[in-house]
Symmetry: C2
């Protein structure tokens, strides 16, 4: 494992000269540089990132946090796509990504401590649990941060246009004759769930429907969707004409529950989801849904973060970037 000293010795120059050659510095002759580069190659020299970031305070590495409590992990249908795209974008620029884990060695670190500990250049936070106290310190700090699907004040956020999406969904349902529409909200400790619920109420009331019926699913998953549907049925005397679910997994769970109850979708009620996960094309009935643009979300998040790292943007701006969504009509709606 050779160092710049080894190279320097072999070439017969100072280590700082080697450093200059390696870092495309101007203050070095072409000849020396070529010579050094050749020796470096010959010796299979690789710089050491620890030593480098110790002096430069730049690690070329970006941390990713996701709320495993909200069941957001690498396997998540939607967010894994966002992360994949984010990864691709920042790698173009030479950054590497690593994942947060609560336990480092034998102590547990907050996000902010982790950032310091690892000399990270920035952090991406994917979805936020509003009950996570860990977040407040991060919010108040000045470190480069970007979030996806959070409503954190003073933190740049990339998020789908939930209002637009909800309206598209509801207007479509109404245009197809739905009188009563119920909502299965996502867990309300997630920001997107709150936004979609608010949008739901707002759109309905602007269309002159006085009461908005909804239940909250305990999680964003299939099982919670099923349970929520049963809760909904208890709440309403009649089956609503349509059900707008906060995401696809919940929608699919709801459809399953409806099947168990002997109902047919969309004959007895229409169901519409949110996300457009791959599954939705394959289920039967296939699922009408609001498509989120995960690629775009990932690249925009990367852009917003890199701008901060490069000091081109003041973080205090607290930009919120809305990404357009699209209604995908399939078989689960009349």
């Amino acid at each position: 494992m050779s160092t710049i000293y080894d190279i320097a010795k072999k070439v017969g120059c100072a280590s700082s000269t080697v450093s200059k050659a390696l870092n495309n510095s101007k203050e070095i002759s072409k000849k020396r540089k070529a010579e050094i580069l050749a020796v470096a190659k010959e010796m299979g020299y690789v710089p050491n990132s620890s030593a480098r970031s110790l002096t430069t305070k730049k690690s070329w590495s970006i941390g990713i946090v996701f709320s495993e409590d909200l069941h957001i992990g690498l396997e998540h249908h939607f967010f894994s796509g966002v992360i994949q795209e984010f990864k691709k974008s920042v790698e173009e620029l030479g950054y590497e990504i690593s994942f947060y884990s609560k336990k480092i060695g034998n102590q547990s670190l907050t996000y902010l401590e982790w950032f310091k500990y690892k000399d990270l250049d920035g952090i991406l936070i994917v979805t936020v649990d509003v009950e996570d106290e860990n977040l407040e310190a991060l919010r108040q700090s000045k470190i480069p941060v970007v979030t996806v699907d959070s409503g954190l004040i003073n933190v740049p956020t990339v998020i789908s246009d939930n209002f637009q999406g909800t309206r598209m969904a509801l207007e479509y349902l109404m245009s197809r004759g739905a009188e009563s529409i119920a909502h299965i909200a996502g867990p309300l400790r997630s920001f997107a769930a709150v936004e979609r619920l608010e949008a739901f109420k707002s759109v309905l009331s602007s269309c002159g429907r006085e009461e908005s019926v909804f239940v909250e699913a305990s999680n964003y998953d299939y099982k919670s969707g099923k349970e929520a549907l049963y809760k909904l049925i208890k709440l309403t005397k009649d089956l609503p004409d349509a059900i707008y679910a906060a995401n696809d997994d919940i929608a699919l769970g709801a459809i399953m529950a409806l099947k168990e109850l002997g109902y047919k979708v969309p004959r007895d009620t229409s169901v519409i989801g949110f996300d457009n996960i791959e599954l939705t094309r394959f289920t039967s009935p296939s699922l009408t849904t609001v498509k989120q643009d995960k690629r775009k979300i990932g690249t925009e998040a990367a852009k917003l973060l890199i701008e901060q790292i490069d000091k081109k943007t003041e973080r205090t701006k607290g930009i919120i970037k809305r990404i357009p969504v699209e209604l995908i009509i399939r078989e689960s709606t009349k």
Copy 2:
């Protein structure tokens, strides 16, 4: 951002004493230790991992490589589960994971160089492209490595029991009356694809079927599955009684192609996949498949890697750990 020097100054002791207090060293008095720890906490001290690994040569971080060329990314139905579980296992022990990217800064690194560059403690390689030249140096090195689904000699590997799985699938098909069975292999630059193909041939011949019909899908995805089915149809005069696909995505693609051709599954032919991705429960017909135990694969990989890191195992052993699979019978088979 305080350092051990700041703490030392405040407490009125040497930095080395602080270090001892922080690292549970024996050679320090209880009193001093308590005092130092209190001040450290008060100042919000967080160690610096770069400085630490520079001296200790241990980064507490594990690198993950996946073959994006084989379309194995974070979104992959199967491998994302393996990685998630691997992550969980190593985090328990205080390790963090980070992802390989070809470009670090402005130069591209081989896996081995990356390992050196980042002071990694070990590497997990998820699926291998046998054409990846980058791999050979890694194979010959002595660094802690574990792979999933590779056939690299002298590298500990965790892999499903493809032979067992293939036999279970084929025997089931035959028990249900299938005379002719064709195979859609995965891309043969992946090790698992080769194993499953070999197993297919071997099982059939051991059952007295002379010729084994198969085509190779160009990738492990839906689209390739569709294309492969069309290729298969051209190859065989009649539709085989059953089709054994190298994975679920391919199987699903094949079923779609069959539908397009006017065939019904399983009426006209049975289809069986491999992996048991979530989708398989929801498609219509739902897919009979060989279930891989991704949780177990992830934890076993972690175990094998940590053993090497802790020097409990010589890597040269080249252990290959087979994980049992399970046949999940659904509607796509008669």
